[in-house]
Symmetry: C2
Subunit: 896 residues, 2 copies
């Protein structure tokens, strides 16, 4: 009975409020879930005996129960607030709402993650007609107090009650006009008194209630506002964007005020323990004299550099120096801090891990290892793999001014400046004469590849993150803004219209592929520097990484870039892009238009030496590393132009009757080309195509082997759904390869494998493994077919799905682990059941996405293959996967 | 050592030859694998003490080893042949190649399954210049012997050596001309002697060798020819078509000759133990007097009815009567027999289970149960489910003459006669005035549904077995010949050209949907009779069947037909076809063209009462049985016309600017509509569409419930890939349904479930089951997405795949058990892990295919749903599945 009672009582008195002050806090820095980042930081600093104004944190749990409970506080919470307020009063020797020594507090939101859209700080809470009198008495400065009062009403009115801040600002302006003064500081105490009255009447007319005189009422409303801001539109949107769950809730911090605006011996500032832009090891802080926090944020006055501070407040500066070092040593990370000096005495108001640029993150991590603050593993875990990309591309100089006229999808990161051209041919011609160009197209097709290569960046009006332009540009590491619907392209007129601007051929524009911005004119770029730190860091990464990192590369240039980034092989060399080279496309079309095998073979003979040359170049570049070559994959109609006009032109060019071209085009047209006559289905029905390709591969391999250059060709059959398809293609490959080897009279080791890119291949992987030396997951197509989702068409509903959280993530960006991933797992298990050492990789775009790389590591893939510019990201993600796995194991050990 | 030796010896003397004769055989009737069907039958008859001329069978194993061994006999085989030949000689009191009592033999192929393309019989083998002399002496009939000799040379030359038979025929004709006679029988002994000489010279000039005088050499060559015919083109093709493995091999039967052509007291005949056309219980045989087997086959002379035989050979007839009854009793089935009477004495030459029509099969099975020859289970196993279909459709009267001018795909069985029309509208108009019409279209689209309904049959020039025309026609039980490339349609001119014929609008044609034949003019049809036997049989079937058989039905008429065939519910009621009704399509298009939700809702309100009416009709028809209604599935662009011309017409009709229509059409166009904005993706992005449909369903249900008519609505959400899609749709359905129920103030039990038609749904079935009361496998789409295979486009390679045995079967016809089936199995297991009693069905076309039905039974589905005309097939397949399972269980018990 008694036990039950206690339990019941305990339940009733659940702890919702955590006190900090007097060098002791009930919370700790580890309690971010419960106290939010800010609350945990305040508790930790307090426990470190760092001077922090006393206060308390209302937990995130209270916030969640508030919402569950139809916006009522959970039982006991308010009582605990009052209780802890008493403790604060005691610590500060003041009393909330008191007529003599009134305690003023700040109220701040504070979730686990810092989030825009959460409630701003309300300062000076507790002021009312009663307390200001005492406050005036205490400070002896009526003007200061009324200034604080009018600021409080503004903050409370706008932030807590949602009144348009402009109304207060206008009244202030009006007052200044009336008084004939320029600056706020020129208003007298009486002017401010009058203004307070006016502010209160604004408050009343806007809210229908009087401005709350009762301090506790003020506090209650402020706490409600903090809680309420958790479900504000901006906060929700931010959480959607960053995959933050709704049920984290926000904490609320109530802290006794200290004043940076109590005269010239007071001030308030912010700082970073190291340079957040470069990572340089130097204290980096700024301070405003005689100011409150909001002034710093507003950025109206220019703050003092930290060096000045040392001169003005030598004691406080010394203390600050001591404290930031102590904090950094304690947190073992670069920190972002906020402080206030009240009449010469330093108070710390916040500390948290500081945001930093990718370059800074890298430098800080490496420096801290050198300083023995952290170990290599921690350094590796500190860098967000996605952030690395920033280091590999040109970026827009933040100091330069830019006129953003439109925003498309950030399809491929980096920045580019160039003159606008509207066709791939123009791009190549202009580039050939040394011009930097931006290729602007409604959308791109494989025929534009040459122009894309030649351009600095690509801008398209249509298409999504996985459109042709986006995929190819990412592969090339080239800046691309895709699906920018705001631009209206007139191809014939060679201009585009955006908003009220006409951009003509030859005009300069700048693209920011990281943000999707389109900027008029030339903007300065900062070129990436793969400094020593980058190299050191990547070496560390590779010490831990187990999964291989290969690349998707179709050209010698791709291959070269990839090797520079550390590729350990080519996991996907698409051969179709080679077919689009201007000198080949004609022969390819001849092949397509041929009436029979003999005609096709004749045309293929023309392509053979060119394709062989491609392979020689790529093999040479990748000397000694495996090169996985996928035989022709796309349906043949992709190689023919689609419009009548283009067909007519082609008809004249090829001297083939237009009707024949048109008829062939119609025959080849497909309802669902994604599910059509492509991949090995081509190889099976037109064996001569694949035979030519295998011959080219093996002849290239033989010629290099003769020159003592090591080659490891891996021949990959696409779109296999049934083992018999692979069996047939395998026999064909062996037949052709053996003929070539015999002709050259040498031996070259080659392997034959397959893409796993339809569910059936995954499900029957045990059968398929009997004919394969390796598997490579083509997760782009596997995602499309597993979901029954065409990425070309998904634009009409997929963004909505992600927005409405029907899908957590876009499955074309982050691997769908439950569905597609499960099929991969099944395929790995079934495949390795038959061949224990079956080599398995992934060559979809997921191969360069950190969470997907981690998944691939977990299910035991041998390698991921990604576009060259994603290689460092994949390497880091691979290393982090190992470390996370270890951490998880250690954790489960320690809890057992 | 000794043991090894014996083993080695045993291996050397492996038994390749099985003797039969003198009332005792080494083989039995069960050894079909080894002895082939014919050899097993001869052995069995011998053992039954039935008079069979002595002989021996060379095993299929010998044939296989012959091919493995580079066309050499396996060691010992020839020796065993010689050994057994001795036994035959002994049994017959004659000697092979002997100068006095020469033994003649027949040589026949005989595989496990009777197969066209295998070698024909060679009779009279053993004749040569030596033996004919003895033979003449023995028979005293020189003319007879020379006639036999010239026949033997013809058979040996053409069948064994592959000489063009025409050469022999011409020589014979020439001889007759020379001798001035009309009939073969008018040639004298000398004429025949001369002919033999001539035949031998033809033989020499064609083969380069002399006609073999040595009887053993003749035998060796004949055996080689039998073996060789196993890999003849026709045999290979037949095996491909009927999924018979290549490694079965053929046996070879060598049997002593008896002669039906030894005068008027000899004869040869064939018979069936019951009427193979009707199943009537009467002996059905024909006999040729004084003839050899080849004369019967040639069909030159009209054979005698069995009644005549009784008069001519009363003793032999009595014996034959006794034997056929004994055989039927022994084999417990209707048999096909061959016999010869030599000088009054009866010999049996072959027995096997007789081929029969579907009607006969049914009658025989039922009669034999009544006669207690077999039990019901056996009767059920005796009927091939596919055969049943013959009983449900009109067929072409085999007695009528028909001019087949083209052959398309047998897309939907049955036969139809009617006048040709070229548009769906014409079909409806002509039919409305009482004309029977055949709708001829390049291909059909959903807009043609009305015309298809009105027509007797459908003929299309394009499209495969799963094209729109084929699928819809099968659903309607309507005859359809699809993809008939030989017809060239001129739509404007309203005629089609085939070969040299022009068929104009209004001309009669006849279609045979069972064979794919297109016939000029009217041909007599036999209407199906679902006689009493059919009803009895289906009742037996249902006694054993466990899996439910539901139907796919979109209209009241479909539902009525389906109930007549025994449907236990509707497993798939597609709602999109309802949208195409002429009075609705306009409102549907208004909905599609609406700019916002309000506009769409306004248009949907017009559709609501019509759709509600549809459901009332269907519910009423299915009173008391569940009706599974799938909410709208196809992408919206399917409801807009596609050509500019049609759009212009629509623009005028709807008073919507052409440009707007065109623009909307372009916006809706998809690269891969199969993987596009359809299914629940529509319901999620345009909730008002599904809301209207649910409202219509529930209002219909409420109104009937008020009238005390029981309704069981099951609402099915299509194309779910992620549980959240279903969750959202489920909430929508419940909301709308509850509103309707509240409005009517009554309760109607309804369920909500989902199609499983993409791999992701199958793989995550445990998650999806949490939101579903039932699953229904949409195996058409599941097959398409699992294989990554668009059935609209597969025509370019899928037939080749099946032909080349890359795929055993067309996966759109027979369920791919390894791939798609494995996913189904996973989904059933995962789904039932969460909900033990989750109802699971299948509504793809596989639901009516026997092997697929068996699979569905095996993995524990609750029901299959198929088009109305497939219901009896599915019922039978369901019962057979139970019996097969039991047989397998019994077998494994008996072997344990």
């Amino acid at each position: 009975m008694a036990k039950k009672m206690v339990k019941k009582l305990k339940k009733r008195v659940k702890k919702y409020v955590y006190f900090f002050g007097n060098g002791k806090a009930q919370g700790t820095g580890k309690m971010k879930d419960l106290l939010g980042g800010k609350g945990a930081g305040l508790a930790e600093m307090t426990n470190l005996k760092i001077p922090v104004p006393a206060g308390f944190t209302i937990t995130t749990e209270a916030c969640n129960e508030y919402f569950k409970n139809n916006k009522k506080y959970p039982p006991g919470m308010w009582e605990q607030v009052l209780e802890n307020l008493k403790k604060v009063e005691k610590a500060m020797g003041m009393k909330f709402g008191d007529e003599e020594k009134p305690l003023l507090v700040s109220v701040r939101s504070g979730a686990k993650f810092s989030m825009p859209g959460m409630m701003d700080t309300v300062l000076n809470l507790g002021l009312n007609e009663t307390t200001i009198k005492a406050f005036i008495k205490k400070t002896g400065n009526e003007r200061f107090v009324y200034d604080a009062y009018r600021r409080f009403i503004t903050m409370f009115g706008s932030i807590v009650m949602g009144i348009n801040r402009q109304l207060f600002e206008k009244a202030l302006e009006h007052m200044k006009e009336k008084k004939g003064v320029q600056l706020d500081t020129d208003l007298t105490s009486d002017d401010l008194k009058e203004l307070v009255k006016e502010f209160k009447s604004i408050y009343k007319s806007e809210t229908g209630t009087d401005f709350p005189e009762n301090s506790f009422e003020q506090l209650r409303l402020a706490i409600n506002a903090v809680f309420g801001s958790w479900f504000g539109d901006r906060a929700i949107k931010y959480r959607r964007l960053h995959s933050i769950p709704d049920d984290l809730g926000t904490a609320c911090n109530v802290q006794s005020m200290v004043f940076g605006n109590m005269g010239e011996n007071s001030g308030t500032g912010v700082g970073f323990t190291r340079d957040p832009a470069t990572g340089e090891k130097r204290f980096f802080a700024e301070c405003l004299i005689n100011a409150q926090g909001e002034d710093v944020v507003a950025g109206i006055r220019t703050p003092l550099r930290i060096e000045e501070l040392a001169k003005r407040f030598p004691d406080a500066y010394q203390e600050l120096n001591r404290i930031y070092k102590k904090l950094e040593k304690h947190y073992k990370d670069m920190l972002d801090i906020e402080f206030t000096v009240q009449e010469g005495k330093l108070y710390m108001l916040q500390t948290r891990v500081g945001k930093r640029t990718a370059a800074a993150a890298l430098k800080i991590a490496i420096d801290m290892v050198k300083e023995k603050l952290i170990d290599k593993k921690t350094a590796i875990m500190r860098i967000d793999p996605e952030q690395l990309e920033q280091l590999l591309h040109p970026t827009i100089d933040p100091k330069s001014k830019s006129l953003v006229v439109a925003k498309g999808l950030p399809a491929s990161p980096g920045a580019a400046v160039g003159r606008v051209v509207f066709t791939a041919d123009d791009a190549e011609q202009w580039a050939a004469r040394g011009e930097k160009v931006i290729l602007v197209r409604p959308e791109t097709s494989p025929e534009d590849i040459g122009g894309m290569h030649a351009a600095q960046g690509i801008l398209t009006a249509r298409g999504g993150m996985t459109s042709h332009a986006a995929v190819v540009a990412r592969g090339m590491g080239k800046c691309c803004v895709a699906g920018c619907g705001a631009i209206n392209i007139n191809e014939e007129g060679k201009y585009f219209v955006v908003d009220t601007n006409i951009v003509k051929e030859g005009d300069y524009i700048t693209l920011n592929g990281t943000t999707g911005e389109v900027i008029l004119g030339k903007v300065d770029l900062i070129q990436p520097e793969l400094t020593g730190e980058f190299g050191i860091f990547m070496k560390w990464v590779d010490e831990y990484r187990k999964i291989g990192v290969w690349t998707n590369a179709d050209t010698q240039m791709d291959a070269r870039v990839a090797r520079e980034f550390g590729a350990e092989g080519i996991g996907l060399c698409r051969t179709e892009h080679m077919f689009f080279e201007p000198d080949r496309i004609k022969a390819v079309r001849e092949m397509i238009l041929a009436d029979d095998t003999i005609g096709r073979k004749k045309a293929l003979e023309k392509i053979l030496p060119m394709q062989k040359g491609d392979f020689i170049n790529i093999f040479t570049e990748m000397k000694g590393l495996p090169v996985t070559i996928r035989l022709l994959d796309p349906p043949l109609h992709e190689f023919l132009p689609q419009t009548d006009e283009e067909l007519k032109f082609l008809s004249e060019d090829m001297k083939v009757p237009f009707e024949k071209l048109k008829a062939r085009n119609n025959t080849l047209r497909e309802f669902n080309p994604m599910l059509g006559h492509r991949g090995c289905r081509l190889g099976i029905t037109y064996p001569e195509i694949y035979e030519m390709q295998v011959q080219a591969i093996m002849e290239a391999a033989c010629e290099l082997t003769k020159q003592k250059i090591k080659v490891i060709p891996e021949i990959m059959i696409p779109l296999v759904g049934h083992v018999n398809e692979l069996k047939m293609m395998r026999q064909m490959v062996i037949k052709v390869a053996d003929e070539v080897l015999k002709k050259y009279g040498i031996k070259v080791h080659y392997t034959i494998g397959t893409m796993i890119e339809v569910a059936r291949a995954a499900i029957t992987a045990d059968q398929i493994a009997t004919e394969a030396e390796f598997f490579s997951f083509g997760t782009n197509d596997l995602t499309q077919t597993t979901y029954g989702l065409s990425r070309d068409d998904a634009g009409r509903f997929l963004p909505y799905y992600v927005e409405k959280k029907i899908l957590e993530d876009d499955p074309f960006i982050t691997l769908d682990q439950d569905g597609v991933g499960m099929l991969m797992k099944i395929a790995v298990e079934k495949g390795r059941k038959i061949k224990k050492n079956l080599k398995i990789g992934i060559c979809g775009e997921h191969g360069g996405e950190p969470r997907s790389v981690e998944f691939c590591h977990r299910i035991g893939l041998n390698y991921v293959s990604c576009s060259p510019y994603r290689i460092p990201i994949a390497r880091l993600a691979g290393a982090q996967a190992v470390l996370k796995e270890k951490m998880k194991k250690d954790l489960s050990k320690s809890t057992v």
